[in-house]
Symmetry: none
DNA sequence: AATGAATGAGTGTTCATTCAT
DNA sequence: GATGAATGAACACTCATTCAT
């Protein structure tokens, strides 16, 4: 499973191999339980080379988070074509998201779980990416409201909460799909789309649920 | 800072103190970064005593997960009264959930984050509790459909996905509320209820979103 | 040669054993070349215990410097009785100094050589002790001048230079005596006393050597 | 900061650049703390080239000691003109010594401190040079005694001790002058000359200090 | 019921050194 | 003549765990 052992490769290539190995190991074992020895071995190089190129375990982990977060954002962005209706854009984005997280489960574990459980520094790194996605979803909600010929009279904080809930649900479903046999990316996307779009439409019609008095 | 030092207490009490300290430490530092030294000190006892009562770090962590998972399930169950309409039951459950996770953030971190990032054994422990909650939510959805005089013609897998999405959204919002200033449990519950209930109603009316052909 | 292996000793005792071993090892190998493993083994304990008691290699080394510097100053002070003539006091001090450095060559190496070659922090630690000795010698020179019924019209900077030269010569002779067979502490002290006392007397008589014009 | 980068230079020149860099680095950081990486970078060449020319860290260090020791001896020898009175010769030698050590503090650190704190091999290398200087001083003392029309009835061992003390004092003053602001080579030489010459004269007049009975 | 004393095993990190070009 | 790529071996330090009392 480790990279084919080939000596004397250019630095850039080796670095990617190391990141590959690191993402797999961090994703599987967790940040702390992953040992640099294991990562080096999986990458097919000696430990000093890992340090020569990536300096420390912390920097290596950060590099993993950055690379995978960027890859995920790129995947989602690439899946969406502007100009289509908002619901279609949301669908396309969700589908791309679930396809990507299913294709790279270790990467998803690194970005979503590991990055958030080992200190503020790493968490912040992952949070930056998440912000991008939340912002994207938020904008879609606003556009959808406009398309429905409705003033965006949903208060801003309300929209933020909805986007948060939607993204949170997507994240949970991604993990769920990755750990539950027979759930495809398409199914996950459909479920969430049904759950979310219908809810959003209703809200835009002013039919919202009123909590009982405290 | 730790518990007031009092010698010679009955075992059951000491054990709870240790678990308190462990939950706080695990929640704050993470499973691996938490040291038995720190936990013992925070509990106000010597390390060998911790081992005498709880045998190992793994067992100690498991005990934490069990205790806190049970506490959370109990809290949700206690918040709900049967006999009320389904939406009210869901609301009550969500509110109890957000109140509890806000009151015990370290416990929530242990059960939701730490338990899932350090090996299958721990993850399974937490998953068991989660199942209970998902089952509860599933049943509410079914009841709601029945109340709406509609046959639960939503396929079972669909319902499972919806419950999963709902619970996932709740979990994300809990963490979000715990780390975002000025978001109360009531607000989180309202946001989610709006998002979810409206969506569920729509679905039960057969107005679901159809994905484009692959 | 290592301490007789005896288990379960009180902390204070173990600590001294560790310092003994550390002084020997640092003195022989040098600060950097000495490994904590070696020190622990020589002390007859495991490495973690060394860390438990002395925290780090740096702190261990600092503790060595402090202990041995204090021991040397104490030895010199104890060798001198106030009330005797200045030359006798100087002789007694020098003799005590050479006896001590000959009895504890590793300690002398640590304080005089190692402490000065591995960073400002350590150097400062040793310099503090040296200051005490220089101050002591300086005072003796002043007293000697007074005893000789001469105003201490030697300028202060001049006296400082002389004390520095005297102490420097003593330090060099100590190392020389330690590495040259057949040179006793008494001989070293006699040589230096002859060299120094005669010179000082001459200076106090105003017979100083005038350098040629630049 | 390092030598201007120029490719393809003759070996002899490159070697001197490497030694320059090595002396500076060893002098500043110490033998063990200095890394071959740092030295190579400061020399403006790649590490393998350093190994090609100087074989190993040990040999590199040895080469540094040899070069700098020789340079120091040469400097002292060049400062002295035979035919002048002994005291003038001593003065000239001391002055040359202090001027050289002040001009090349890193070299002085290498030869005097580093060489003596990292194993017998290096110490022996530096000791060889020292012997030359001690021998030179010894001969001056003998000549001085002869000039004073006195038989050198000072026993040989006594003379050796005096030379040792004188050289030791000089070494200490050199380091002292290098680390104390405002002390010039000339001042150091004057202080030592006063201290030493007066003492030596006295001794040659038979006025020596008699130690108390043991 | 409780603890001071002690350790085996492992981790991240560094460095002198070499090979292939 | 010169170097980018790569490593074996070691070292400081930590931690879960146990023993003797």
């Amino acid at each position: 499973m480790g990279a084919v052992k080939a000596k004397r490769m250019p630095r850039a290539v080796r670095e990617q191999q190391m990141l590959d190995a690191a993402v797999e190991t961090f994703g599987q074992r967790g940040y702390m339980a992953a040992s640099m020895d294991e990562i080096a071995e999986l990458a097919g190089v000696s430990k000093p080379l890992v340090y020569l190129y990536l300096n420390s375990k912390e920097e290596l982990f950060t590099a993993c988070i950055r690379r995978e977060a960027a890859a995920l954002v790129t995947a989602v962005r690439s899946g969406v074509r502007t100009g289509l209706p908002a619901d279609r854009q949301l669908w396309d984005g969700l589908l791309a998201f679930f396809v990507h997280t299913a294709a790279y489960p270790h990467a998803w574990s690194v970005v979503h779980l590991q990055a958030r459980t080992h200190g503020e520094t790493f968490a912040a790194e992952a949070a930056a990416m998440r912000e991008e996605i939340v912002a994207f979803v938020t904008s879609l909600i606003v556009v959808a409201a406009r398309e429905a010929h409705r003033d965006p009279d949903l208060p801003e904080r309300e929209v933020a909460g909805l986007a948060e809930a939607l993204v949170g649900a997507a994240e949970s479903l991604a993990t769920w799909a990755n750990t539950t046999d027979g759930v495809t990316a398409r199914q996950a996307a459909t479920t969430l789309m049904n759950f979310a779009w219908a809810g959003l439409s209703n809200l835009m019609d002013g039919r919202n649920w009123t909590p009982p008095a405290a």
